[in-house]
Symmetry: C2
Subunit: 375 residues, 2 copies
């Protein structure tokens, strides 16, 4: 590390004032600022307010005409809605932000939460599976969730029909977290309205989306990474081949989480996804004991560390590497690390160039630190 890089070290702390929280939310809600870009901007500009000030010029330099940061009125409305819904904002680096998310490269910088946020301090197990599950699958989910709850684990799921619903319901008494795909105040599907209310009362609902957002297809995979990210392990209870649960399982592996699956007979198509996972190395689950046994024993580093501050790395503004970066990226995502090695420049040089290109809409960040050209 050079002297210049060392001098740029400035750990970014979570917001401490209302004004600072306002700026964080405003930065995150600004166009083309996703979780990874948010972290990077904060790192490079020292504060959300500084980043907001710099954004329009960065956009202009990247050739984006008429870029505007999120208007303050939007944030005011969101905060008002949150107050009405009794929602609380959890910010990356704060004591109430779930530690488990700290080590994710695309962790949401902020989560809205309704309910008992202390559940996020307990060990969490995610349970996911088919919406159109069999009665056997639903029964299995109920049994697992109830037994895991009795053993002190919080059950995390997505409030969807089927397996999610069964898991939440069975864990209502012991603690359950629903990660919503849309706004934390927007209940979907409607048939789970009562369940969602019960979870807000005895459990916890969280979402990274703005208040009031109706969930759309693209929100679900984003949401799934939070389900697995919050958990020590992800149990897939029943899943067909090529189902969303398998994507969650893959995300979980990328995040270093244990992946477990409940087997089924090969003639049962609803078990095909689970059997595939087991064949590929997931732990076979017959009971809650199987789940607990599979949990990594050494969780100290990951889950008992003090709340992390936003990691600060050297990021001097380098020469424009845009052309070289674009030449090396394609529609298939590659790891940012790989890109840095290929280009033989430092992360600190490449970082700002990537932000520019992302703001410019020419490259896309994907979960797991992957980059690709925008299609």
């Amino acid at each position: 590390m050079t002297e210049e890089q060392l001098s740029s070290y400035h750990p970014t702390l979570p917001p401490t004032t209302e004004e600072d929280r306002f700026s964080w939310l405003r930065l995150l809600r600004s166009r083309k600022v996703g979780p990874a870009t948010f972290r990077r901007l904060l790192r490079e500009h020292g504060s959300a307010q500084n980043a907001l000030t710099a954004l329009p010029e960065m956009a202009r330099a990247a050739g984006i005409n008429g870029y505007e940061i999120c208007p303050p009125g939007v944030i005011e409305a969101e905060l008002k809605a949150a107050k009405a819904a009794n929602a609380r904002l959890l910010c990356l680096g704060s004591a109430d932000f779930p530690d488990a998310l700290n080590d994710l490269s695309d962790a949401p910088p902020m989560l809205w939460a309704i309910g008992d946020v202390s559940l996020l301090r307990k060990p969490c197990i995610a349970m996911v599976g088919a919406r159109n599950c069999s009665s056997l699958g639903a029964r299995m989910a109920r049994g697992l969730a109830a037994d895991l709850g009795k053993q002190g684990y919080v059950v995390v799921s997505g409030l969807a029909r089927g397996i999610d619903t069964s898991a939440h319901m069975a864990a209502l008494d012991t603690g359950t977290v629903a990660v919503m795909a849309g706004g934390v105040d927007v209940i979907y599907p409607a048939e789970n309205t009562d369940l969602a209310r019960n979870i807000a009362q005895s459990g916890l609902r969280v979402s990274e989306q703005p208040m009031g957002v109706t969930p759309q297809a693209r929100h679900f995979p984003r949401r799934n990474r939070i389900i697995s990210g919050l958990a020590r392990a992800v149990v897939v209870v029943e899943a067909a081949a090529k189902s969303g649960s398998l994507i969650t399982a893959r995300d979980a592996l990328d995040q270093g989480r244990e992946v477990l699956a409940v087997p089924g007979h090969p003639f049962d198509a609803r078990a095909a996804g689970c059997n595939l996972l087991i064949r590929d190395g997931a732990t076979l689950v017959r009971s809650a004991e199987d789940v607990v046994e599979a949990l990594p024993q050494q969780q100290a580093d990951l889950f008992e560390a003090p709340p992390a501050t936003v990691s600060a790395e050297a990021a001097p503004s380098g020469a424009a590497l845009h052309g070289e970066i674009l030449a090396r990226l394609g529609p298939s995502p590659i790891a940012e690390d790989q890109l840095i090695r290929d280009i033989a420049a430092t992360a600190g040089e490449i970082g700002p160039a990537l932000v520019d290109l992302e703001l410019d809409g020419r490259i896309q960040r994907q979960p797991g630190g992957l980059l690709s050209l925008t299609a």
Copy 2:
């Protein structure tokens, strides 16, 4: 290796004359001579005839009164029955003896065979499972056996009810081997009489038991080691916890065979054994492709080696170590290798002492080279 040990090297060849075969069979049918003892006696005495001559004196020295080797009339009757049943004797080290058994420490020195012995030269897959299988299990067994047969694999099983029956029937056209628990001419269960006849015609029946022996409980685990021993992989199609199929699976692992299992839902007790195996590392099977894919790629050493002769190792007659051996053995089996290390004597010294103790009924040999005190 000392000079004396080198000078004792004399590879024992399979029997080449009728007289020699007679002696082999007679030695094997003599009381207290199991497969491991048979090999050892042959190694130590150079021929079955020599071993037969030495046996009574060895027994007397071991304190067994009135020990008699198998009377020749018994062997004559067995050979006559074999001729009537059109059974052929396959001897360890002969070209027609299955190579796959050569590397088993407790390989049967001889097998009776009725049918097409050339099937033993083809790659074999064992399929085992519950006698009281579900219709789903039977269907799975049929599908797997038929598909494996189409791909050139011979299906080995035990002619039992349930999974075995389904597997044999589906593989009749492509090649199937039934390993019988009793004599190769004694069909059990009676309901499989037609199937057994069909197997004799288009497949192969084998047994290590004397002709005419009615199968008894103790024969089944012994038989199972031959099923797994003949095969490159053992597929457990449906098995409850604590079932015989799990013992076969464990034997297969001891023999270095691949173990695979068809999963089922945890609520289905008939899948409990299979799920346990998968949890413990067995490969999950959904289809014949999964089986073929799991087969070890490098089979040359194991299956394409020329027929082995009975391995010859130095075995000078040593001092009586009986007391020390008995003191170190208990009811729980330990490996012979371990015993030799503990006693700090050579294998050549300990070997004859073990034969004495075994003939004396004081110690027992178990599959996998394990020894224990007789209970």
